[in-house]
Assembly symmetry: C2
Homo-oligomer: 198 residues x 2
């Protein structure tokens, strides 16, 4: 699943300048238009450098149809595949962490259309095997980012009649993530407080 | 890093028929030419279906240069990037698992040229954070597959003067993985016995 800073268009169509690479993280701190994905990638780099935890982003799955070897293995025909898992996973104090990051421009609710059945199934498996599973949800216009346990999103997705999670519910059941320079989004602090003593 | 069943050519050049997708796993059991990667993918599917553990393969990172939107987001120019992590990670009983799979045609040793510095660094971080880290090494001509703890490969990689790990050392320090129909490679049995009581 490809995400955009505008948060509303979760189609597979990327911006032309996008690079689908885990290596394309920019360390420029001057970019005000930095999106959620970049903030998380920078936070993960910070955590890695500080040896707090190790979380990596899964590359976007791409199905390669043809490759031109005369030019040194240039891919000439390929298409994006649907991410069947989540964007991020990693390890903290031996525990498995798995999460998906989503941004929305809405201010009153988080639309569940942004979440796929595949991702819900994946996160259910993670929980079944004792992993720590959650969503990082950004309300871009409110400039607020929350960590919301996957079990809560799963329940809404499977049993709810609504097609979105009200902002008020995210506020009450999630944990607001502190923003800063480094880490930009300190989600690990929330994991430490809420997941490590159980 | 792209792997081949012949195990000797670990360049970035793929076979033309290769699909770089986590969704391309085939369930045909009649294919005798099935390679190590396919065996592991099938084992992971088996483990998932049996709710033993959840291990997924990271997609091959691809840097997209240009996309043709007139044809519905067809990638027309892209290139393979070096995998900076490992091929597989997942969760078993809450614990984080991370490993790389390599096959060799050699019978007397496992060449370390198959392993990148990036992967060694990644696995060192995994160990530092309490994750379970290992290599699955296939000696294709011997029809033998071993699970070898990452710490052992790291030591050879960093301190060894040799450019390979002798087969005898893999035999003595690794754990031979039982082959079967389902799972095709029962590496989880080894994890349960050797990593879960510590």
């Amino acid at each position: 699943m490809i995400k955009y800073s505008n948060g509303q268009n979760f189609t597979k169509k990327p911006e032309k300048s996008s690079k689908f690479s885990i290596n394309s993280t920019s360390f420029s701190h001057s970019n005000r238009g930095m999106n959620l994905e970049e903030d998380i990638n920078l936070s993960n780099e910070y955590y890695k450098a500080n040896e707090s935890c190790l979380v990596t982003k899964r590359p976007t799955p791409i199905n390669v149809v043809s490759v031109d070897y005369t030019k040194g293995a240039v891919i000439t025909n390929a298409y994006f595949e649907k991410q069947s898992t989540t964007d991020y996973n990693g390890v903290y104090k031996g525990r498995y962490i798995d999460f998906e990051a989503k941004s929305t421009q809405k201010t009153s609710s988080f639309p569940l259309a942004n979440v796929s059945k595949h991702q819900i199934d994946h996160l259910k498996h993670v929980l079944k095997h004792g992993g720590i599973a959650f969503f990082i949800i950004e309300f871009a216009k409110l400039d607020q980012v929350f960590l919301l346990d996957a079990s809560y999103v799963i329940e809404y997705f499977e049993n709810g009649t609504r097609k979105s999670i009200p902002y008020q519910d995210v506020l009450e059941n999630g944990h607001q993530i502190k923003k800063g320079l480094a880490p930009r989004l300190d989600y690990l602090e929330i994991i430490e407080k809420n997941y490590m003593n159980s």
